[in-house]
């Protein structure tokens, strides 16, 4: 399949997750909604069900969700609730609700209350002291709860063997996405910011084996091409989410390519793999423990500035000239880490801009002006 056709497929999935869901339903599969962040999707896959990421919506307006939360909450969470309330997500058979930020904590209760009697909500609390043995054990305990709830929905036990297979599928998928990030940068004349974003976004709505197969095809096609003779600029993107095609189009219009990303719904979950041998539950717990450099996660070496140093290194190694931080409005964790990120970027002489975004944005004029100006200083 040509690059163009493959990209069109990814875009179709990214733009119409509902079609994807309907197709899975037609195959008799059950679908589990997976809210951010770090839910062990492997368990859903191993249960023979389809995990689908729920990262808000770029097209909907918040209306019914106002019955549950005040305005000062991240629109990703509010729009997830909106879609649960307005029937958009009626296709789901279950919902995993992680609670790693202060918005998701009370929202887990709102999701459960709003869906009472309609949709099983599976609660998930991750530990922050995740690396010591007791932290790993806590993760295993929580994942065991998720597992048993999923088993109730699927009606069959999740075997260790199925889970090990799922881990292999997910490792392969993460490897393909890591590779894609590099190839997308090398071939940024072919992979626009809009397309790159669609490829990542599609990963949340496809069974990972199907997705990986398609992505590996795309990677193979890209590898055949000569490296781009790119005369534009390159940046690293950072933030929780930047999947709005209109926003990405501004980058493309200004000849700004994405060299790498530090984005929660793109590469952040792809950094670490799980062990394919041994106890698979512990492998998943260890994988979560190994996650690092994330605004959402506690850093034992708090007095150092490891996350920002990691980002600086990413910018340098990726060949980017600057960084664009898509600051999700009302995202405390991201906001709390910004001053030290800024400090490290400034110290390394890396230009950056912080662009406030949310999913209710309909006018991109300001963002366009800011990015245009930023491209000029790179």
């Amino acid at each position: 399949m040509s690059i163009e056709l493959l990209l069109n497929d990814f875009k179709a999935v990214a733009e119409h997750p509902h079609r994807q869901a309907d197709a899975y339903k037609a195959q008799g599969k059950k679908i589990i909604g997976v809210l951010p962040y770090y839910a062990p999707e492997e368990l859903v896959y191993a249960a023979g069900m389809v995990p689908m990421g729920i990262w808000g919506s770029n097209n909907k307006n918040i209306s019914r969700a106002k019955e549950y939360c005040a305005t000062f909450y991240c629109t990703i969470a509010q729009l997830a609730l909106e879609m649960l309330l307005d029937g958009t997500l009626d296709v789901l058979d279950g919902l995993i609700t992680p609670t790693i930020c202060d918005t998701l904590r009370p929202m887990s209760q709102n999701f459960r209350v709003a869906m009472e009697g309609k949709l099983p909500c599976i609660f998930l609390a991750h530990p922050q002291n995740r690396r010591p043995a007791f932290g790993l054990q806590f993760t295993v305990d929580q994942y065991m709860h998720v597992k048993s709830e999923l088993e109730k929905i699927s009606g069959a036990p999740i075997t260790d063997e199925a889970l090990r297979d799922a881990i292999k599928v997910y490792n392969k998928s993460r490897a393909a996405r890591r590779k894609f990030s590099k190839l997308a940068s090398e071939h940024c004349d072919v992979i626009s910011a809009v397309s790159r974003s669609a490829v990542y976004r599609a990963s949340w709505f496809m069974l990972k084996d199907e997705y990986t197969e398609k992505l590996e095809q795309l990677n193979a096609e890209l590898e055949k091409l000569p490296a781009a003779n790119w005369t534009g600029k390159k940046i690293v993107t950072s933030g929780i989410i930047c999947d709005n095609p209109k926003l990405m189009q501004i980058l493309d219009d200004n000849q700004i390519a994405i060299a790498a990303d530090d984005v929660a719904n793109e590469s952040r979950p792809c950094l670490v793999d799980a062990a394919e041998t041994g106890d698979p539950m512990m492998a998943l717990a260890q994988q979560f423990a190994d996650q690092d450099y994330d605004v959402l996660l506690y850093d034992e070496h708090s007095s150092e500035n490891r996350r920002a140093d990691f980002i600086v290194k990413m910018v340098k190694e990726s060949g980017a000239q600057g960084l664009v931080l898509f600051m999700q409005q009302f995202c405390d964790p991201e906001e709390m880490e910004y001053p030290y990120l800024k400090k490290a970027l400034n110290a390394a002489g890396i230009p950056h801009i912080k662009l406030g975004v949310d999913q209710q944005m309909r006018d991109f004029g300001q963002a366009s002006t800011a990015l245009e100006g930023f491209a000029d200083v790179l």
Partner: protein
């Protein structure tokens, strides 16, 4: 007439003053001083005789002293977004060395008085004196204060001190930092973080650790979805206690003193029981005091619950309240017509504005969520882990509702006033559903208003007054309905 303050209240104030004074003294003597989140297990620090300051309590104090805005702004200038919790912003600005100070003339070393500050001057008959030049009331010079400016301790310490003039200037600038206790807490040598109250705490304390290059001891208490705390969750917290003890041993070079730990636990339990008893006096109708006072006594529960002095001070207050009840009196400065639960942390910079329409309408606060949230009692270390699992914002909606409906019933409230606190996402995040449940389960009206615990810019007085008025009307309607039955 000056408001009389009971011996118990005076004792409670002294306990907190002593905690601050002891920390300043410890620092001056070269001892370690830590900063701790309000619901970190203080029993652990007590076992090592550590002096600990509480940034949340400090930030509330700074906000109540009207310096919340300048400190929040200082944090924003450091890059912290104005959506971040106001306590965190104040604390982070302070940790970075920012201070609210009194403006002075660098030549004369005299404070520059803000002409808009102070209370109106009154004549011998108690009448306000009008300035003939402006036609406006004259200010009482005794009550006027200097302009507030932002200063930075690192800038001050970097100043030269070679000439006498330089030395005098430097010293004056140090002294110009506002003299109240919360603006004079020592910089931390270590931080104790427990995120049971919120996850913002995690990154807040990491930032402090980074700014000051100091160790952080972290006790992570994830959010809980059930009323019961599972044994597996207790095991996780219990293991973290052991790790924290080990880290404190390394930090202090001392062995963990089991006896001191047990004494601190006994004190914490005693304080909690006494705190609850004091809170329970609000069950009397009319209540012997205004529940707003509990917000002030919170400082003792937060900063000194592991100390015997706190328990004794609450016991004194209990005696005072017993007397008040016997005499059939109340310290509430108005006749109580309605009784409400105040939901959330108060808007500290706007306490008088919060109080005004309540007083005008005879609305007494007779229930606050802090009562059950801090009144936790335990018998052993596993129970202690379980107790710390239940913080105001770490419990599921059913537990949160049960706590609140319990005190609403016990304290016989007629309505609920809900603070949608811009600073506190975990607290405000399920209040809409809670309001529906209060009304359904208890048949009482609720009214919400927008505000902030520390940043005065997020409070709209007109909206608040309208909402209080609406609540009063709804309570009236309810009472009329009851009367017709």
């Amino acid at each position: 007439m000056a408001k009389t303050v009971s011996p118990g209240v005076l004792a409670l104030r002294k306990v907190v003053d002593d905690v601050y004074a002891d920390a300043r003294k410890a620092k001056a003597e070269g001892k370690l001083v830590g900063w701790s989140s309000s619901k970190f297990p203080c029993e652990l620090a007590e076992a090592f005789d550590l002096n600990v300051m509480y940034p949340e309590n400090q930030a509330a104090g700074i906000a109540a002293q009207r310096d919340g805005e300048i400190m929040c702004q200082a944090a924003e200038d450091l890059g912290f977004d104005n959506d971040i919790c106001g306590y965190a912003r104040i604390s982070l600005a302070y940790a970075a060395g920012k201070r609210a100070a009194r403006k002075f003339d660098p030549e004369t070393l005299e404070f520059i008085i803000d002409p808009n500050s102070g209370k109106p001057l009154k004549d011998e008959n108690g009448k306000v004196v009008i300035d003939p030049a402006t036609g406006k009331p004259k200010k009482d010079p005794k009550t006027q204060v200097p302009y507030t400016v932002l200063d930075d301790i690192h800038e001050i310490e970097a100043l030269p001190e070679t000439t006498e003039k330089e030395i005098a200037y430097k010293n004056f600038r140090r002294e110009a930092i506002k003299p109240y206790k919360q603006m004079r807490i020592p910089q931390p040598d270590f931080v104790l973080c427990c995120n049971n109250i919120c996850n913002c705490m995690t990154k807040w304390y990491e930032n402090i650790a980074r700014m000051c290059n100091i160790p952080l001891i972290m006790i992570d208490i994830p959010y809980n979805n059930t009323v019961e705390v599972a044994d597996t969750n207790v095991a996780y917290v219990r293991a973290q206690f052991d790790k924290a003890i080990h880290q404190l041993e390394e930090l202090t070079g001392k062995k963990f003193d089991e006896k001191k730990f047990e004494a601190a636990c006994a004190n914490a339990n005693r304080t909690a029981k006494d705190w609850l008893k004091v809170c329970d006096y609000l069950q009397y109708k009319p209540a012997p005091y205004s529940g707003f006072d509990l917000f002030n006594h919170m400082a003792d529960v937060v900063t000194a619950r592991g100390k015997v002095a706190a328990a004794e001070a609450f016991e004194q207050l209990e005696k005072d309240l017993e007397e008040t009840i016997k005499k059939g009196e109340s310290t509430t400065p108005f006749p109580e017509q309605y009784r409400v639960m105040f939901e959330g942390i108060p808007c500290w910079p706007k306490l008088p504005n919060l109080f005004k329409p309540l007083k005008a309408n005879g609305v007494n606060v007779t229930a606050v969520v802090y009562a059950p949230a801090f009144g936790f009692v335990y018998n052993n270390i596993d129970e202690m882990a379980r107790a710390y699992y239940k913080a105001p914002n770490s419990v599921c909606i059913e537990q949160g509702v049960a706590w609140r409906e319990g005190i609403c019933k016990d304290n016989k409230v007629d309505g609920v006033l809900v603070h949608y606190n811009r600073s506190c996402k975990p607290w405000s995040g399920y209040m809409a559903e809670m309001q529906r449940r209060f009304t359904k389960d208890l048949g009482i009206p609720c009214a919400g208003f927008d505000g902030d615990q520390a940043d005065p810019r997020n409070f709209n007085e007109a909206q608040y007054e309208t909402r209080v008025q609406g609540l009063v009307e709804a309570m009236d309607a309810n009472k009329a309905k009851e009367g017709n039955k």
